[in-house]
C-alpha cells in the first residue's frame, strides 16, 4: 500500500527550523507559546499565520519587532477566522489568475479560548461552515489571560478568575467548560483534534494531519498558563500531563466524523492530583472536587464510547 503521506508516519522527525523565535515576551514557563512554536514547526515554511488578539499577539509583536519568521497578520480579537477566510480566498483567486505562483500554502489561524469560544465563535463557525482550507488552532489557557485572568466559557468549573472570584456566594466559575471541539465537529469538517504540548509528538502528528486535509480543520490545544493557573513556572508540562492523565483533558481526534482516542491514560488518576496544586482551585471543598470527579468520569465514559474503547 502506498503511504498517503509520509508526513503522517514521520511524526518523530522534528524540523530544526524555528518560526517563533526567541525574544518574545511570554511569561516564564508559558505552554501557549510552546504549543504555537511546535505547531509552526509542523506546518513548516509555507504558512501564513492569522492571529487573534490575546497573549500570543501581545507577547510577540511590539512595533517594530516581531517574533514571527512566517508571514503573520493580526486584525482584531474576534475576527481571526474571518480574516483567514479572506486570506485563503485571495490566495486561491490570485493563483487561479496566475498572479502569484501556485503553491500549497497553509493558512493557520490562532486564537485564545476567549477569541475562539466566546467573542470569535460566530466568525469561526462561519469560516468552518464555508469550507475554507485552513487550520484553526485554539490555544486554550482557560481564561482571558491577556486582559488579566478573566473567565471565559472555556474556564473550568470551580476555577477562580478575576471575574469569577470565589466568595461567600460563589464557588468561582459556576458553569462547566464549553465543549469547543464538539462544536467545531458539529460543522462536519474533515478534521478535529485535541492536543497538548505536554505530548509533543501527538501534537505534531495532529498538526500534520490537519495540514493534509482538504477543507477546514480545528485543533484545540490545552495550553497551561502558570500565571493564570497560579502554579510555579517550571510546572507547565507537568500540569498538561496531569490534565490528560486524570481524564480532564482527553487527547482524541475526529476524522471525518470518526472519533479516536489518541492516548488512553487508564486507569485515570484522581482529579485531585490535578486540582490540588493549582492556586486557581485552592478554595475548592472536597464536595466540589467530588462533583468535578463525577463530571469528568461521565464525560470520559461518553468519550470512550464514541471512540469505541471498552
Amino acid at each position: 500500500m502506498m503511504l498517503p503521506s509520509i508526513d503522517i508516519y514521520a511524526a518523530n522527525t522534528v524540523s530544526r527550523e524555528e518560526f517563533a523565535v526567541s525574544g518574545h515576551r511570554a511569561c516564564q514557563g508559558c505552554a501557549e507559546i510552546l504549543a504555537v512554536r511546535l505547531a509552526l514547526k509542523a506546518f513548516g515554511r509555507n504558512t501564513i499565520m492569522v492571529m487573534a488578539t490575546g497573549c500570543m499577539e501581545i507577547i510577540s509583536t511590539p512595533l517594530p519587532t516581531t517574533d514571527w519568521k512566517l508571514p503573520w497578520i493580526h486584525v482584531a480579537f474576534e475576527n481571526a477566522a474571518a480574516v483567514a477566510s479572506g486570506v485563503e480566498s485571495a490566495l486561491k483567486i490570485l493563483m487561479e489568475k496566475n498572479k502569484i505562483p501556485r503553491k500549497d500554502i497553509n493558512v493557520v489561524t490562532i486564537g485564545g479560548d476567549g477569541g475562539t469560544s466566546d467573542i470569535g465563535l460566530q466568525a469561526l463557525s462561519g469560516a468552518l461552515e464555508r469550507g475554507h482550507k485552513f487550520t484553526y488552532i485554539c490555544v486554550d489557557n482557560e481564561a482571558y489571560m491577556n486582559t488579566g485572568i478573566q473567565r471565559s466559557s472555556s474556564t473550568p468549573y470551580g476555577a477562580m478568575t478575576t471575574t469569577t472570584p470565589p466568595g461567600k456566594k460563589s464557588i468561582g466559575q459556576s458553569t462547566w467548560k464549553k465543549d469547543m471541539p464538539k462544536i467545531a465537529a458539529a460543522h462536519n469538517i474533515p478534521y478535529v483534534a485535541t492536543a497538548c504540548p505536554s505530548y509533543p509528538f501527538d501534537l505534531l502528528a495532529k498538526i500534520k494531519k490537519a495540514k493534509m486535509v482538504y477543507g477546514p480543520s480545528y485543533i484545540h490545544v490545552l495550553s497551561v498558563c502558570p500565571t493564570g493557573w497560579r502554579i510555579p513556572s517550571n510546572m507547565a508540562i507537568r500540569y498538561g500531563r496531569l490534565a490528560v492523565e486524570t481524564g480532564i483533558f482527553p487527547l482524541y481526534e475526529i476524522e471525518n466524523g470518526e472519533y479516536r482516542l489518541t492516548y488512553n491514560p487508564e486507569p485515570l488518576r484522581q482529579v485531585g492530583d490535578y486540582l490540588n496544586g493549582q492556586g486557581r482551585f485552592r478554595h475548592l471543598t472536597p464536595e466540589t472536587i467530588s462533583e468535578i470527579r463525577e463530571h469528568v468520569n461521565a464525560d470520559w465514559e461518553r468519550l470512550k464510547h464514541l471512540c469505541g474503547v471498552k
Binding site: I48, I73, V87, K97
Partner: protein
C-alpha cells in the same frame, strides 16, 4: 462615446466593480444594498466576473475578510448599509490603520431605533472619522465613475487607504437611470492591476498588524493622517485623468449657480439634485441661490470649499442626520469650524432634513431660502432652544 443604458443604480454599481476587475468580494446583505451584492454574486456565478465571492456570516466578518484578502494582495470590494456599517465599525479603523485599499459602496440608510430601512446619512456620519476616504454621489453615473476611480485612488502608493463610495439608499440605489458604461478596455487602460506594496506570502514574510507602544503610536497615526490629507492631490489628479479619458470631469467640490448670489446651500449626496431643482424654480421667481455640492467629504476639501465660499454671506447647511446631542450636525460643525478659523464673515444655518427617508421637496428649500434671506443668523421659530432646525417635525 458609449451609449447610455437605463439601469438600476445598484446594478450599475456592481457592474462598475466588475469593470474594475475586483478579485475578492466579501459581503453580507442588508436593505437597500442587497441588489449590489446579489448582482455581484450573479456575475461571479455566471463566470462574467473572475473573482471569489465570500458569503460571510456578518458584516463584521465581511470587513475582516476584506482585510485578509487585501493583505494577501487581492483587489477587494464590499458593500453595506446602516446597521451593517455599524457592525463593521471596529474593523473600519483597522482597515485604514493597516492601509488596505479596500473599496466599499455604502448605501446610506437610517439607523435603528426606531428601525428604518430608508435613506439618510446616520450610518456614514457615525463612521466619518474612521480614516476612510469618503466620496458622495449625486446620481448613478457618479456612482459608476466613482467606483472605478476609487480603486485608482485607494491603491495609489501615496495613498493606500480604504475608500467609501456613498450613495443614498432607495432615492439613488433603487432608481433606474440612464448610465454610460465605459468599455472594459477603456477601464483597463485607466486602472492598472493592483500592485500591492507588501503582501502576506511565505516567500517574503512580513508581520502586519503589530501593536505599538506609546513611543510609536502617535507617529503611526500621524503618518496615516498625512496620507489621508495628502490623498486629496491624488484624488484631484485621478478625477482629472478620468475626465480626460472619459469626458466626465469631477471635482471634490462642485458648485451650481454660485456666481450670481451670496446665498448658498451646502449638502452631500443625491439631495443635491433636488436642491438644484429648487434653485431653478427660485430663479423663475427672480430669486438667486447657489449650491455647493461636497463630492469629497474625507479628506475634508478645505481649500476647495474656502474658494467656493469666497464672497458668500449666508449658508444653509443641509444635512441628513440628528446631531445626537452635539451643538449641531456634523456637516455644520465642519463648515463652521472652517469658516471661523479662517475669520470669514458668513452666517451659517443648520437644517436637518429627510431623516429615515422622509421626502424633501423643492418647496422645503424655497422655505429655507426665504428664512435665511429674511432672518440671517436669527433664531427661527423651529429652533427655539436648538442651534439647528429640523424640517417637517410634527406635533
Amino acid at each position: 462615446m458609449n451609449a447610455k443604458k437605463g439601469i438600476e443604480v445598484s446594478i450599475a454599481a456592481s457592474i462598475a466593480a466588475k469593470l474594475a476587475r475586483v478579485e475578492v468580494v466579501a459581503a453580507y446583505p442588508i436593505t437597500p444594498q442587497t441588489h449590489i451584492v446579489e448582482h455581484l454574486s450573479e456575475l461571479v456565478a455566471n463566470g462574467e466576473l473572475d473573482a471569489t465571492y465570500i458569503n460571510v456570516e456578518s458584516e463584521h466578518s465581511a470587513m475582516s475578510a476584506c482585510c485578509g484578502s487585501s493583505a494577501a494582495g487581492a483587489r477587494t470590494f464590499t458593500s453595506t448599509s446602516s446597521q451593517g456599517l455599524e457592525l463593521m465599525h471596529e474593523i473600519l479603523f483597522i482597515a485604514s490603520g493597516m492601509r488596505f485599499p479596500i473599496v466599499m459602496a455604502t448605501v446610506n440608510r437610517a439607523l435603528s431605533a426606531p428601525l428604518s430601512i430608508w435613506g439618510d446619512h446616520s450610518d456614514v456620519m457615525a463612521a466619518r472619522d474612521t480614516g476612510w476616504i469618503m466620496l458622495f454621489c449625486e446620481n448613478g453615473q457618479e456612482v459608476v465613475d466613482s467606483i472605478i476611480m476609487a480603486f485608482k485612488i485607494a491603491e495609489d502608493r501615496r495613498v493606500l487607504l480604504p475608500l467609501m463610495v456613498n450613495l443614498d439608499g432607495f432615492s439613488l440605489s433603487h432608481v433606474i437611470e440612464p448610465i454610460e458604461f465605459p468599455s472594459q478596455e477603456e477601464v483597463d487602460k485607466f486602472l492598472p492591476p493592483y500592485n500591492p506594496l507588501y503582501t502576506l506570502h511565505p516567500d517574503k514574510p512580513v508581520t502586519m498588524g503589530a501593536y505599538a507602544m506609546p513611543e510609536l503610536y502617535t507617529e503611526a497615526k500621524y503618518a496615516q493622517e498625512m496620507a489621508i490629507v495628502h490623498s486629496k492631490e491624488v484624488i484631484v489628479k485621478v478625477m482629472d485623468e478620468f475626465g480626460k479619458q472619459f469626458g466626465r470631469y469631477y471635482k471634490p467640490v462642485e458648485t451650481y449657480n454660485t456666481e450670481n448670489t451670496d446665498v448658498v446651500f451646502i449638502a452631500l449626496g443625491a439631495i443635491n439634485e433636488n436642491i438644484e431643482t429648487a434653485i431653478d424654480r427660485l430663479k423663475e421667481e427672480g430669486k438667486e441661490a447657489g449650491l455647493i455640492n461636497l463630492r469629497l467629504f474625507r479628506p475634508f476639501p478645505t481649500k476647495e470649499l474656502l474658494f467656493a465660499l469666497k464672497g458668500k454671506k449666508r449658508v444653509a447647511v443641509i444635512e441628513r442626520v440628528m446631531p445626537g446631542g452635539a451643538t449641531n450636525g456634523p456637516l455644520f460643525n465642519e463648515i463652521s469650524s472652517l469658516v471661523h478659523s479662517n475669520r470669514m464673515n458668513i452666517s451659517i444655518e443648520d437644517y436637518i432634513v429627510g431623516l429615515g427617508g422622509r421626502d424633501v421637496l423643492p418647496e422645503d428649500f424655497r422655505d429655507i431660502f426665504d428664512e435665511i434671506k429674511a432672518t440671517p443668523g436669527k433664531r427661527t421659530k423651529s429652533k427655539k432652544d436648538k442651534n439647528f432646525s429640523v424640517i417637517g417635525v410634527r406635533g
